[in-house]
Structure formats: C-alpha cells, structure tokens
C-alpha cells in the first residue's frame, strides 16, 4: 500500500491544472469526475490506516503528508463529499478560475487533515487561505474586493501566529510533529498555536472575518467556504487541543454570541454566517470537554453541520442569484415563486434545529450529553438554550422572513424569483438527502466516529421528550414575540469595527503628515529657490541669464516631479496592501530571528 499512496489533495490540484484544457461538452462530466475521484481515493485510503508520504527534508525535518487514522478519516470523508456537492452546485459556472480556486481550497483542507507535522499543515493552511480569498474576489458584490483584503489580512495574521507558535515549539523541543499538546505544561508557543487555529475556527474575539467574508463571497464560493475553513480548524483543534478547559468557556460564549447576532441580522448569508459561529461553538466546547463522547460528538456535529449548513447556503445562494437581493427587508412571501428552494431550506433549518429524524438530532445531543456527563451543568444548560435559539433563527425566523409572511419584494425582485437551475437543485437535493440519512440511519455516521468504545443512543424516550418540548415551546415563544424578530434595515457593529477603523486611522496618519511635508517642501522650495535665484542674479550679472535660469528651472522640475512620484506612491491609499506587506515582512523577520 505504501507505494500506492496518492494524496487526494494531489488529485484536486492536478484536476484543477488540467481543467482549463477541458472544454465544451466534456467540461461538466470532468467537473464531476475529479471530486468523485478524490472521494474514492479518501474511501480507499480509509481501508489502510497508517502513515504515508513521509519525506525527509535536508536531513533535518521529517514531513508527513499522509497520516490516516480514525480522526482524519471522518473529516476527510465529509470534506471530499462536500467537494462533490459544491462542485455540482457550481456546474453552471463557466469561469474555470472559480472552479480552480474552489478545488485548491478543497485540496488545502484535505492536505491539512492528512498532515502529520506542522510544516505540511502550514503549507496547506496557507493554501486554503489564499484560494478562498479568490472565492470572495470572484463575487460581483461591490464590497467583495475590500472584504477579500480584510479576509486575507486576518488570515495572514492567524497564519503568522501559527507559524510563530510551531517555530518556537521547534526551537524549544526540536519537535515538528502535529499532535496533542500538553495542557499542564503550557508555554507561549501553545497559546500562539491555539490562537492561529482558533482564528480559522472563528472563535471570539477572532471571528469577525466569517460573516464579513461569507456574505460577500461568490454564490458557489460561499457554499465551499461555509464547509471547509471552520471545520478544518475544528479538526486541528481536536487533534492538538482536546481537553483544554478554556475551549469550553470560549465555545459556549461563541454559541451565544453567534445566535444573538443572528437574531439581529438582516442579510441572509450574514445570518447564516453568524449561525456557523454559533454551531461551531458547540464543536469548540466539545473539543474543550475532550472526553471520548465529546470528541465523537464534535466529529459527528462537524459532519452533520457541513451538510445542513451547505444546504442552507445553497438555498440562500439560489435566492440571491435569482432575485439579486440578499436583505430580508426586501424579501418575503417567496414560497409561491421558489417552492423547491423553500423545501430544501426547511430541511436544512429543521436539521440544524435538531428535529428528530434529521441530522442535528443525532449529533448536537452528543456534545450536550458529554457536557452533562462531565458535570459541566452550566455549559450544558447554556448550549441547550442556544439550541432553542437556533430553532428560533434558522427554523422559524429565516423561513418566515424569506418565504412566508407578507412580501416586501419590489415587483422586479418578485418577477425574477424562481427555483434555480437543475444542477443547483440536484446539489441541494443530495445535501437534503444526507441530512435525512444521518438522522435516520444512525450507525452510518456513528460507525465512522473516532472513539469506537463510546455507546450513545439518541433515540431514547427522554431525549425525544426533551427535544420535542424544546421545539414546541420555542415555537410558542416565536408565535408571541415574532414581531420583535422582524427584519430591520440595519447592520450590526462587531469587533471588526476595531480593525476597520484602525485601517482608516492608519490611512489618515499616512496621509496627513505626508501632505504636511509636501506642503512644507513646496513652501521651502519657493523661498529657497527664489532667494537663490535672486542672489545668483545679483552676484552674477555678467553670466548668461538664460543659462542660469535654465539650470534652476531644470532642477526645480526634477525635484517637483520626484516629490510628486514619491508621495503618489506612498499616498495611494491601498492601506490593505501596505498592511499586508508589513505583516508579511514582520513574519519573515521573526521567523529568521527565531530560526537563526
């Protein structure tokens, strides 16, 4: 088997490099073929757990590209499955660059999941960040460029933290392997690595990039993004930080924070983004609890979450693509125009709300049960309260504001709204099928989970009674208070306010002193230049006037032209690029400092 190890990321990368040459009628079959091949590869590799693709670099570092064990198997399975669904959803997209970016992104995720050391992890980690930035830039949204720069900057910061963390760890221990870190023997590098990984999991206060980027990405781009970045980060946290108590508190805060913002949100995809923050909070808490049941619950919830959240983002994408409208204040009553999209979004909504027979029911409850079994009652109760909030937002508020209620669409929006093209419907159908499958055929999911000794049964009468009570009485609260959940045409300020405003402050600082220097230079030149001219004129009367004049004018023109160029270059106002260069340079400098 060692000789036949083919990394699924390699299939995705090779597939995307060949893609531009496949045209015409072969394009769509080829688009389906590549992720299916990668999926088959993942299935094949799952038969042979072990360590493959080991390369020794410069006789010093051992790189491990293929660590196949029970934890990486389940994550690789769902990522490869989602790659198929996402690609089918985007089959109609003509622009091959979008597919290439998405596939590189998937390859990055699979590479991280199979990586056995920090160097390989970092390589694929950055590949994910850069590829996904293009998924934002390909969007037609007018804010997409700025949002992409913000996304890239934030992730570069996270990458630098991770880099610093594992480089410091290498310096201290001489170890580059990626495994469980010691909770009782922490050091600066432990926290740096944790910050780097937590940023991708969107743990507050490092979460603002998520709703910002996912609401601006291209339609298919957001379907890919909602699946890969955060859940890959959950995998890495489960690998390196299982049982770290701080993650329980952060996860619970995250779950509550996300749901509160989701209640306030007006943009469909931002709302869903906030709900990712909330749901990933359960997984972060599960990693923090760290028992066998909690880790199984985290994996199961990540698995289920990718499918139903993908489904919700696909539904939202269908609405935005056909109507061109993403604000809830300008939607409503669309069930007549897009009944199939309604059906799929309701399936996604009841899955995330943990209705019996849908996927959330069998996954979320594991994490909550693990909390109660570890006597973390506060965490258990708060996470249960958030699950009521989840139903409130995704199961009730979202369909009510988009599909039911009175319509707030203007006539053109209403006219344009219709169910999307066949491939988007097919992709939504596949995801909806899996949501139902996971909820009904429990052993399909549970047999893939890493800790096989755990025995958990979701369909007990007490669990059913608990869930049904929660759902029924949340719906009752919604019925009485639904006017308070109506959409308003507002945005909600979040922690990204600080870096957006800091960016402006930086721009102001760069602008004002430079402008001042420019003005001062002009004034000085006028005075000095004139005085010089007069002096020269007075003392050198017998000199050729025109000659002197020529020299002075020439110098003046040169100086003025140079000054203009420099200030133009410095004052271009692309603060993102400036910051980006600065951070990259700082990263290189620090690495060199630590390593040499």
């Amino acid at each position: 088997m060692t000789g036949s190890f083919i990394h699924p990321a390699l299939i995705m990368v090779a597939g995307s490099l060949i893609l531009p040459f496949i045209r015409g009628p072969f394009r769509k079959p080829y688009l389906c073929l590549v992720p299916i091949l990668a999926f088959c590869d993942v299935l094949y590799l799952s038969q042979f757990p072990g360590t493959y693709g080991v390369i020794t670099l410069l006789d010093r570092w051992t790189l491990v590209f293929g660590r196949i064990d029970s934890l990486s198997m389940v994550f690789a399975f769902i990522m490869a499955l989602m790659a198929i669904i996402g690609t089918i959803y985007g089959l109609h997209v003509e622009d091959e660059w979008q597919h290439i970016a998405a596939w590189f992104y998937v390859a990055g995720s699979l590479g991280v999941i199979y990586s056995g050391d920090f160097l390989v992890l970092f390589l694929f980690w950055e590949m994910m960040a850069f590829a996904s930035t293009f998924l934002i830039w390909f969007s037609k949204d007018k804010d997409a460029l700025a949002a992409g720069y913000r996304y890239l900057l934030v992730h570069t910061f996270g990458g630098v933290m991770l880099l610093l963390g594992f480089v410091l760890r290498y310096q201290a221990t001489g170890d580059l392997s990626f495994g469980l870190l010691d909770e009782h023997n922490t050091s600066l590098y432990t926290w740096l690595i944790m910050i780097g990984l937590m940023l991708n999991a969107a743990v507050p206060p490092l979460h603002s990039w998520l709703p910002d980027a996912y609401s601006r990405a291209s339609i298919t781009g957001s379907v890919f993004m909602c699946a890969f970045t955060t859940k890959t980060a959950i995998y890495t946290l489960a690998r390196a930080f299982a049982g770290f108590d701080i993650l329980i508190a952060l996860g619970v805060v995250m779950a509550i924070y996300g749901i509160v913002y989701a209640i306030l949100e007006n943009d469909v995809r931002r709302l869903l983004g906030w709900e990712i923050v909330s749901q990933v909070g359960y997984m972060v808490a599960g990693v923090g609890i760290g028992t066998a049941l909690a880790i199984n619950g985290t994996c199961a919830h990540a698995f289920a979450h990718i499918l139903y959240k993908g489904l919700l983002f696909m539904g939202a994408g269908a609405i935005i693509m056909t109507t061109g409208e993403s604000r809830l204040t300008n939607l409503g009553g669309l069930y007549r125009r897009m009944p199939l999209t309604l059906l799929f979004m309701v399936v996604g909504g009841v899955s995330v709300s943990a209705f019996p027979f849908f996927s959330g029911f069998v996954s979320k409850s594991m994490i909550i049960a693990a909390g109660f079994e570890s006597h973390l009652y506060l965490a258990g109760f708060l996470l249960t309260a958030v699950s009521a909030g989840t139903f409130l937002v995704a199961g009730l508020r979202l369909p009510w504001l988009i599909f039911f209620g009175e319509t707030r669409c203007d006539p053109t929006t209403w006219e344009k709204a219709r169910d999307p093209v066949w491939n988007m419907r097919l992709a939504m159908g596949i995801a909806a099928f899996f949501c139902l499958l996971l909820g009904t055929w429990v052993s399909f999911l549970y047999s893939m989970l890493p800790n096989t000794e755990v025995n958990f049964h979701p369909y007990t009468t007490s669990h059913l009674a608990e869930t049904l009570q929660i759902l029924a009485f949340t719906a009752l609260a919604f019925y009485f208070l639904k006017d308070r959940l109506a959409a308003t045409s507002t945005i909600s300020l979040d922690l990204d306010w600080f870096y957006r405003m800091a960016g402006r402050g930086f721009l102001w600082l760069a602008e004002k002193p430079l402008q001042w220097a420019d003005t001062a230079w002009g004034a000085a030149y006028r005075v000095v230049g004139l005085v010089t001219l007069m002096t020269i004129a007075r003392f050198s009367a017998w000199f050729d006037w025109n000659g002197i004049d020529g020299v002075v004018d020439g110098t003046a023109r040169l100086v003025r032209a140079l000054g203009g160029r420099i200030s133009l270059a410095l004052q271009r106002g692309q603060v993102q690029m400036t910051l980006y260069y600065a951070i990259t340079f700082a990263a290189l400098f620090l690495t060199a400092y630590v390593w040499l």
């Binding site: 249960t384 009521a388 007490s462 009570q469 009752l476 308070r484 045409s489």
Partner: protein, 84 residues
C-alpha cells in the same frame, strides 16, 4: 403541490393555531405521563414537570429580549455606516 399546501394552511389560520396548540399540549402530556426521568442528569429535570418546555420558552424569550436590547444599545446602526 407545496404551494397549494401552504395556501391551504393560510386559508385556515385558526385551525392551524389550534392544531399547533394541541400538538404542544400532547407533547407535554406525553412527556409527563410516559417518560421516565429518573436517570436525568440534574434534579431540575427529575423533579420539575415539563422542565424542558419551561426552559425552552424562557430561553427563547430571554434571547429575543436580550438581542433586542443589545441591538438597540448602539450595536445596530445604519447600513451605510462603513461607506461614509
């Protein structure tokens, strides 16, 4: 088919409300009568009848009111805030 079904429901709002209330009542009665809570994790679940119904109703109300207060405290602002 989906559209007709929803239109039908919309024609009979009182019946839908009544059915919803009956369903919620049935869930609570079934939970009280037929579900064994002696293995519950906390005494709250063991000894308070219909605990999760009360809990969920309160949780949903608290979340809605807290979010409303939080939003009005200055977090919600005009849409062109960042555009200047």
């Amino acid at each position: 088919m989906i559209v007709n079904f929803i239109d039908l429901l919309k024609q009979w709002p009182r019946t839908v409300r009544l059915l919803g209330a009956i369903l919620a009542g049935a869930i609570v009665i079934w939970s009280l009568a037929a579900v064994d809570t002696s293995h519950a994790h906390t005494w709250l679940e063991k000894y308070i009848p219909g605990f999760w119904a009360i809990f969920a109703f309160l949780a949903a109300c608290i979340l809605i009111f807290f979010a409303g207060w939080f939003g009005r405290s200055g977090i919600q602002t005009r849409e062109d805030y960042y555009d200047r």
